[in-house]
């Protein structure tokens, strides 16, 4: 094995012309621990992604574990040796699956046997204290538990290189401590393990032997942590970073907290016994506190402990289940717009409107808060200057580095001069220097303008700056006082220690971590290269579990199909009947009445009130009240007797040509009947029998029951839309929500990924097919004459084709909106117009004919109608089956090509 775990030279990476990494070069010895620090947007995640093989190498050389990462073969051999945990709390976990199921899924991707898996899972769960929660869905875990689960999933296959991207951001201090203890244990059992961690906590970075400092895409320093730290004031890494940033000019006086001016007795925000329950889950549990005007009040706790939920209740976004909340002396009321104008809110997830510029964002909010246009502009300008955004006012907000973006968010939150500011983790992911800057603004607002500030954070040094803080855990406030008092109360040297003690008291003293079983240091697993049925099954099982747990989606898929079958079975009919007609009889003779009588007695026509004059005729046709108007000329009877061949005019509504054409046919048929009658009446002798009889035989559907032909055809329609919609979000949703990274970082191949996603929906679609066939037979009584086996086989090929079309759309699109819209728009035209349901495919021309032949609906329509009504089997339907199989293969091939195993 090479002595170097990672060697990089001249590594550069860019997105759409913007360079995220610029000429990075370093080497990391195997078995060492290395921290990667730098402000958000410095390129940390890009660098880790490249090393993990998740991102495609653009420029430079990168060797990981003894081979070049750009080589596909080497990368394939690396999957089982690298573990990668991407940024974000539990973004790569599956929220619907339980803890055990998540781990099992990862284990089967890496080809562990059942025995190996159970053994390792047991020891990892024990080590992480998660054993008791093994059955709980990942979506319902706290931030700390999610990260521990993420680590379990990453470690299940015993890697040589562990890459963690900000694993402890947003995790409470106790969990954080536990997390690192766990990592150390793993390393103890596996000394060759190399660790590369990006972190926002300098204290954590100081624990590692090596350190890489990244700033604006450049590596500003690399080497042993101790040596690097020595360059900073007081030997601290944080100061060293500022030093290497070359930021002597940026260095500002240390932040001083001016004391809170004379205690105001006025309460700005108050919560009393506030509780909020979602079902059986209590998110906020009897929380009480009172915040005085002008105070900076901090909420400290891990993600998922109820901070955000409490803030949402206070802003009226969520109604409290119990207790009361008051804001500026008024009870919180969602409909109270006047109070909202006195409050500024900065939510965790909201990151402005990225497409709008800095100035536009500010002015938009000024307008939304009803500031007059001139005042809004002036205030925007003032804030741009005060918040140091002058150099960026025309840039789109989305392109700003995170630190600036948070400043802009704060500017937006104070645009209307609010009396109360509620800030949900305003500094999460912002580098230390930018955080200090942000605090200067907060202090100014609080001390000089008397704004009450209520904020949440998980940074201890920020909590220390608050006038008072409340420690929150699992929905409850554990303690609430000034930082100094809290420290004394828990006899601690630092606030962090106080918090840890406080949490330990709340949870009960937990036993020291049990030793990790030797199993963790077992033999390296061998991973099957190329297509693996086991991985395919693992993915299909996971996808099925998610589908089965989302009952509503399953119900929509099944009942939607039934509903459509019923109403289309009754509704689609090509018989044109009850054509509304009226007569303009200008003759009013027995002859004209007799002529019209033939129309009245036909089942195709329904008579309406007679027409008075030509104007009315036109008007009623125009209004679409009539589809046909018959105009009998004056003197019709007289002319008829005189043999002057009077002319009857039939006016048809041409708005819908198909109906007009059919109506015209019927009119002519009735007219012919009239002629026959006239001939018989005038001289029975002349009316000789017809020369020949015309026998028209309607085959396959003798009674000409529309549903016999329509019913089986409608199956083709339904089984195009629902399966395509089921799969259309398969890939794109993972892209949007982040779990796609598991596909990039595991041995899962593209084909396994696609087929695994397809199989569960294939099963649902086949169930749909069976239900539709049953409905046709039982409800509509459509006789089934052909081969059931052929229908089943053809149906299988058809839903294979339509589900693969959905996946193709999913692989092609980037957003869920585009995928949903694309699935419907692409399916509609060829299914409704070109399948042969309404117009036979032989009547199509040009592009339409081509689409009719390529798209699968027409072929299945032939199979369905053929097996139902024509008693056909595979001997005559094999070309259609072949076409369906071809479509499936072609669209899967196209999806494979569009789906990339690495990110850009």
């Amino acid at each position: 094995m090479s002595a170097w775990a990672i060697r990089a030279e001249g590594l550069s990476h860019g997105y759409a012309g913007q360079l995220a990494l610029d000429g990075i070069g370093f080497a990391l010895p195997a078995g060492e621990r290395c921290a990667l620090i730098g402000p958000d947007g410095a390129g940390k995640s890009s660098l880790l992604g490249l090393i993990a093989g998740v991102k495609k190498l653009q420029r430079g050389r990168l060797e990981v574990l003894g081979g070049p990462i750009e080589q596909r073969r080497h990368r394939a051999s690396l999957y089982p040796r690298i573990a990668f945990m991407p940024q974000g709390l539990g973004h790569n976990l599956y929220p619907e699956l339980s803890i055990a199921e998540n781990i099992q899924f990862f284990a089967s991707l890496f080809g562990l046997t059942r025995a190996e898996r159970e053994q390792r899972m047991a020891s990892l769960l024990a080590a992480t204290d998660l054993t008791a929660f093994a059955a709980r869905p990942a979506g319902k875990l706290s931030g700390g538990m999610k990260q521990k689960l993420g680590l379990c999933c990453a470690l299940i296959h015993e890697p040589d290189l562990l890459i963690l991207d900000e694993p402890t951001t947003g995790v409470d201090p106790l969990s954080r401590r536990r997390f690192w203890e766990l990592v150390e244990q793993v390393r103890a059992g596996r000394p060759q393990l190399t660790l590369l961690v990006a972190t926002a906590y300098m204290e954590e970075a100081e624990q590692f032997e090596r350190c890489l400092m990244l700033d604006r895409g450049r590596l500003i320093a690399a080497g042993s942590t101790a040596e690097l730290a020595a360059a900073g004031a007081g030997g601290r890494l944080e100061a060293a970073f500022t030093h290497f940033q070359g930021g002597a000019a940026q260095r500002q006086a240390p932040l001083l907290i001016p004391p809170l001016p004379a205690q105001s007795a006025e309460i700005a925000i108050e919560a009393r016994e506030l509780s909020l329950r979602f079902g059986d889950f209590t998110a906020v549990d009897r929380v009480s506190f009172a915040i005085r005007r002008g105070e900076i009040f901090g909420f400290l706790g891990s993600n998922g402990c109820g901070k955000t939920t409490t803030m949402k209740v206070l802003t009226g976004l969520l109604p409290a289940s119990a207790g009361s909340a008051q804001l500026l002396g008024q009870p919180v009321d969602a409909g109270d717009l006047a109070t909202r104008k006195r409050v500024g809110f900065m939510s965790q997830s909201f990151s402005l409107y990225g497409e709008l510029s800095v100035r536009q964002n500010l002015e938009l909010h000024a307008r939304l808060f009803d500031l007059p246009a001139t005042e809004g502009r002036a205030r925007s300008q003032a804030l741009i200057e005060r918040f140091g955004l002058a150099g960026h006012s025309a840039e789109p907000a989305g392109a700003l580095p995170l630190g600036l973006r948070q400043r802009l968010s704060l500017a937006v939150a104070v645009i209307h001069g609010p009396e109360v500011l509620i800030l949900d983790e305003p500094t999460s992911g912002v580098d230390p220097a930018a955080r200090d800057d942000f605090w200067r603004l907060l202090l100014e607002l609080s001390r000089e303008q008397g704004v009450t500030i209520f904020l949440s954070t998980h940074f201890m040094n920020e909590a220390e700056r608050c006038d008072r803080i409340s420690l929150m855990h699992a929905g409850r406030v554990l303690a609430c006082d000034t930082p100094t008092v809290l420290q004394q109360q828990f006899a601690s040297r630092s606030l962090e220690e106080a918090f840890v003690r406080c949490l330990e008291q709340a949870q009960g003293e937990s036993a020291p971590l049990p030793p990790l079983g030797t199993a963790v240091a077992g033999t390296p697993t061998t991973v099957h290269r190329g297509f693996s049925l086991r991985r395919l099954r693992a993915l299909a099982v996971r996808e099925s579990k998610e589908l089965l747990r989302d009952r509503v989606r399953l119900a929509f898929a099944l009942f939607g199909a039934l509903f459509m079958m019923v109403i289309f079975g009754y509704g689609i009919s090509l018989d044109v009947e009850h054509i509304a007609f009226a007569a303009l009889d200008q003759d009013q003779s027995p002859h004209s009445r007799a002529y019209l009588e033939a129309f009245r007695s036909s089942r195709y026509f329904d008579e309406r009130t007679p027409i008075g004059d030509a104007d009315e005729l036109h008007r009623r046709l125009q209004r679409s009240e009539l589809k046909l108007a018959l105009e009998i000329p004056p003197g019709f009877g007289r002319d008829l007797l005189a043999g002057r061949q009077p002319q009857v005019a039939a006016w048809l509504d041409g708005g819908m040509p198909f109906r007009a054409e059919t109506s015209r046919n019927y009119v002519e048929a009735v007219h012919q009947a009239n002629l026959q009658r006239l001939a018989t009446e005038s001289s029975p002798a002349l009316a000789a029998p017809a020369a020949a009889r015309l026998e028209t035989r309607f085959r396959y559907n003798q009674d000409v029951v529309s549903v016999n032909a329509i019913g089986p055809g409608v199956m083709a329609l339904i089984l195009a839309f629902i399966p395509a919609m089921l799969t259309a979000l398969g890939v794109v949703r993972e892209k949007e929500l982040g779990s796609i990274s598991n596909f990039y970082a595991t041995p899962l191949t593209r084909l396994e990924f696609l087929l695994g996603k397809q199989l569960p929906y294939l099963a649902v679609s086949l169930l749909n097919l069976a239900m539709l066939v049953a409905l046709n037979r039982l409800l509509f009584g459509v006789p089934f004459k052909g081969s059931g086996l052929t229908l089943a086989f053809g149906g299988l090929l058809y839903v294979l084709a339509t589900t693969s079309l959905g996946l193709l759309i999913s692989a092609f699109t980037r957003t869920q909106i585009a995928a949903i819209l694309g699935a419907v728009i692409i399916t509609t035209l060829p299914t409704i117009q070109y399948s042969g349901l309404i117009v036979p495919r032989s009547a199509l021309e040009g592009g339409s004919a081509l689409m009719g032949h390529v798209f699968p609906a027409g072929h299945f329509l032939d199979i369905a109608v053929g097996t139902f009504t024509k008693a056909l089997d595979l001997r005559s339907l094999w070309p259609q089956c072949l076409a369906l199989a071809g479509f499936f293969l072609a669209s899967t091939a196209l999806s494979l090509w569009l789906l990339k195993k690495q990110e850009v």
């Binding site: 976004l317 909202r340 104008k341 939510s347 938009l364 939304l368 009803d370 509503v552 929509f556 939607g560 199909a561 459509m564 109403i567 289309f568 509704g571 009919s573 009947e577 046709l621 125009q622 209004r623 679409s624 008829l640 061949q645 002319q647 005019a649 039939a650 509504d653 041409g654 708005g655 040509p657 059919t662 015209r664 046919n665 002629l675 020369a691 020949a692 009889r693 015309l694 026998e695 309607f698 559907n701 000409v704 529309s706 032909a709 329609l717 839309f721 629902i722 089921l726 949703r733 980037r814 909106i817 585009a818 949903i820 819209l821 509609t828 035209l829 409704i832 070109y834 117009v839 036979p840």
Partner: protein, 371 residues
């Protein structure tokens, strides 16, 4: 006034985010150009290009004459088929019509023995089967009368002149182009607004809007107005460039009035989209919920299958679908040049449906935010 300013500002924001999804724009472009032009030129309503075969057991002058009378564009030139292949040819769907001229047909005819001419129709080829059989009947009747020297149309005691108003040559493409536009408007209106709303919820930006001094009404109206603007714009361009320009369809009615009615329809259908979005908890659920709503709105609006032929309960049900009224209004305005004076009952119905959906959506929207 403030409210209007809010809606205007939020609407502008919606438009900017729409502009950034290039794949979505590609689908929009397809929906309003290719997907209008192709069906309008490529598929013919009524009998067209139908496949015919002749089983000629007579081999007479008359049987050849009958075969020659079957001509394009309604029918393909008939193929000759041996008798024993008649069933197989129909089974395999190779021909929609197979005509059997029995042996001694001509001789029997001349001898006044009334021989039977058999027309076999594949009745599963729905629209073509019935109309085509009638056409063939008329063609053969005429030929036989002519052959046996009986009266022809010129000598009939009454003549019939049938004329189609608003589309004199009954060109199917005219209607199909409009029908496609109506369909795509429906799809976009329901899906675009619904998904956009759920996406804001999944990404958490909805929370931000709700703490601003905005009412649910303003947020909804902003979404409806901006999406309506996009769709009305696309519709106008599509009518001018594709329908009038490329397809050369003469539109009799007022485009301005049509676009105003389109805006009214969008009000109703986008409200429906928002309503559906409030029923779903996630985008995948919404997609599956939207299908059984949208597809019947397209198929049963009266454009593909006549409303009059549906069972009464279904006809009543479809009166609650805004697409039924909109399709009928569209043809009335554009082809029949009808004005508001004539169309007010339909307009009122559309507006009423819109208001009901909007009210429902607003109520659900307010309460669903809490969850």
């Amino acid at each position: 006034m403030d409210k209007l300013a809010h809606i205007f500002r939020l609407g502008l924001k919606e438009l900017t985010s729409l502009r950034h999804d290039s794949v979505l724009l590609l689908f929009l472009l397809y929906a309003f150009s290719v997907a209008i032009y192709m069906p309008a030129t490529g598929s013919v309503i009524g009998v067209h290009n139908a496949s015919v075969a002749f089983v000629d057991e007579d081999h007479s002058q008359l049987s050849r004459r009958l075969a020659e009378a079957v001509q394009p564009p309604e029918f393909q030139a008939p193929e000759l088929l041996p008798y024993d292949q008649l069933d197989a040819a129909l089974d395999g769907g190779r021909f929609t019509f197979v005509i059997d001229v029995p042996a001694n047909f001509q001789a029997d005819l001349l001898a006044g023995r009334q021989p039977a001419l058999q027309v076999n129709v594949d009745a599963t080829a729905m629209s073509q089967a019935f109309m085509g059989a009638r056409y063939l009947g008329q063609i053969f009747q005429r030929e036989l009368l002519d052959y046996s020297g009986r009266q022809t149309a010129e000598q009939a005691p009454v003549r019939l002149s049938s004329r189609a108003l608003f589309n004199p040559n009954l060109q199917g493409g005219w209607f199909l182009a409009l029908f496609q536009i109506v369909n795509h408007i429906t799809i976009l209106a329901v899906l675009l607004t619904g998904t956009a709303l759920l996406r804001e919820r999944e990404h958490g930006t909805l929370d931000h809007l709700l703490v601003l001094p905005l009412t649910a009404l303003e947020i909804m109206l902003a979404k409806i107005c901006s999406n309506a603007l996009v769709v009305v714009g696309c519709t106008w361009l599509s009518l001018e460039l594709v329908v009038k320009g490329a397809l050369g369809v003469p539109l009799a009615g007022s485009l301005g009035f049509f676009l105003a009615v389109t805006a009214l329809y969008l009000f109703a259908s986008t409200a429906l989209g928002i309503f559906l979005a409030t029923l779903a908890r996630s985008i995948p659920q919404f997609g599956l919920l939207a299908i059984p709503v949208i597809i019947p709105m397209l198929m049963l609006s009266g454009g593909s299958t006549p409303l009059e032929s549906m069972p009464v309960w279904l006809q009543r049900l479809m009166q609650f679908s805004p697409s039924t009224h909109y399709l009928s209004l569209s043809t009335s305005i554009l082809f029949r040049d009808a004005g508001p004076g004539v169309l007010w009952p339909e307009l009122a119905a559309l507006a009423a449906i819109g208001l009901v959906f909007f009210g429902l959506a607003l109520r659900r929207f307010r309460s669903s935010l809490a969850a």
